[in-house]
Symmetry: C2
Subunit: 219 residues, 2 copies
DNA sequence: GTCTATAAGTTGATAGAC
DNA sequence: GTCTATCAACTTATAGAC
């Protein structure tokens, strides 16, 4: 009993039947949660929030839709959990905490990020699709998207500000403006790249932009 | 008979009851179609394709959902009609046909467009939301979005090319790259602006970008 | 050209057994 | 923690009367 039909790719659940002793140190529940989260992330990336159904996620995670809703009480709660997960992964990768780095260093970091992103279209698509959807005021991710950009802009602006203060960057650069433009360029190129990867070399175009930008704002 | 409940904003349909003579020159059907298209455009902009229902559009157009499907045989056909409508309106406004204009002139035109767009958030949102959704490969607007960018890039690249040929622009500019970057900046700023209009001055930021870009690529 | 009626399916969420 | 069963609502689309 308790065997699911055909197994699907993702890491199978830690399901050891009833033989497993009931000690408290075993995080099987968390493993399940993590698995659901990863699948949900893929589905939201592939079809957006509105285009994704709980049934589909549940099927891929090899449990029923009701079982899924035991771990996340609503679809919206699941979305929030996915966004939180991604944000934490991203922050770790970007080391935004250890900013400000001074002007040139932050920008170099983003160039590097653009290159890295070209290898993970799925994750890039998650942000592009969800952020696009989230423009709608009543979308559950609206606040998340708005706050995320505000934070990113502020963070990069602070770095540029430090660069100006240290004399590395020209005194007449507008840190907030440049920060907004850097993210705009990144997102816009991601969009064109996702739509037409063969004709748009995201990393090269972004690198080129940053190179000229640096030439302009460096002291 | 044939009276609808409470009237909703948009131009009322040309519904003159049965007294109307049945001559062939009367475009009442077209007026209805146009009204539906305008409402559908608003709804798609507000909620995306997946988030919009035919019933809602029909209600606002003051007919039934089945009545709506007499004019457009499917939801997808309606979407295509909306996109075509917008494309035609846009082409008219941008005069892409009368390009190439030479480098500086095209870019000035886009700066102007950014300013104009700030007055029509609804239409900007239509593109942003639908293009984001359309990143998904199986989305009905996927091909439209990809082809639209390809066309826009080619068109602007041709203008820049002409600018290079005439000696107005430096010989070392990469027209295709610059074209992609200009649209990326435009779209990225639109996204941030739609999410947070109070903190992002789209037109100013885009104008600033173009200004510096011109300084760099002008001969 | 518009309607009513309905098909046929999906959705997110809940109740309660085990 | 997971299941079955079920709900009420909503979806797009079609058939056929007027």
């Amino acid at each position: 009993m308790d065997v699911r039909p055909d197994d699907l790719s993702d890491a199978p659940p830690t399901r050891a039947g009833r033989a497993r002793p009931r000690g408290r140190g075993y995080a099987s529940g968390d493993a399940r949660r993590t698995r659901i989260l990863n699948i949900a992330l893929q589905e939201f990336a592939e079809n957006g929030y509105r285009g994704t159904s709980l049934a589909r996620i549940a099927e891929r995670a090899e449990l029923t839709q009701a079982g899924l809703l035991h771990h996340f009480r609503s679809k919206q709660e699941l979305l929030v959990a996915v966004l939180d997960l991604r944000d934490r992964m991203d922050m770790a990768h970007l080391d935004l905490a250890e900013l400000p780095l001074g002007g040139a260093a932050v920008l170099a970091k983003f160039t590097e990020l653009a290159g890295h992103n070209q290898a993970i279209p799925g994750l890039v698509q998650l942000f592009t699709v969800l952020t696009g959807e989230a423009v709608t005021t009543d979308h559950p991710a609206h606040g998340w998207a708005r706050d995320r950009y505000a934070l990113l802009r502020a963070s990069v602006a602070a770095s540029l500000e430090a660069g100006v203060a240290s004399g590395e960057l020209r005194a007449d650069v507008d840190p907030t403006a440049v920060a907004a433009q850097v993210f705009a360029m990144m997102d816009g190129l991601q969009l064109q790249w996702l739509l037409d990867p063969e004709h748009v070399d995201m990393a090269a175009l972004f690198g080129d932009y940053v190179e000229h930008l640096l030439r302009r704002i460096r002291a």
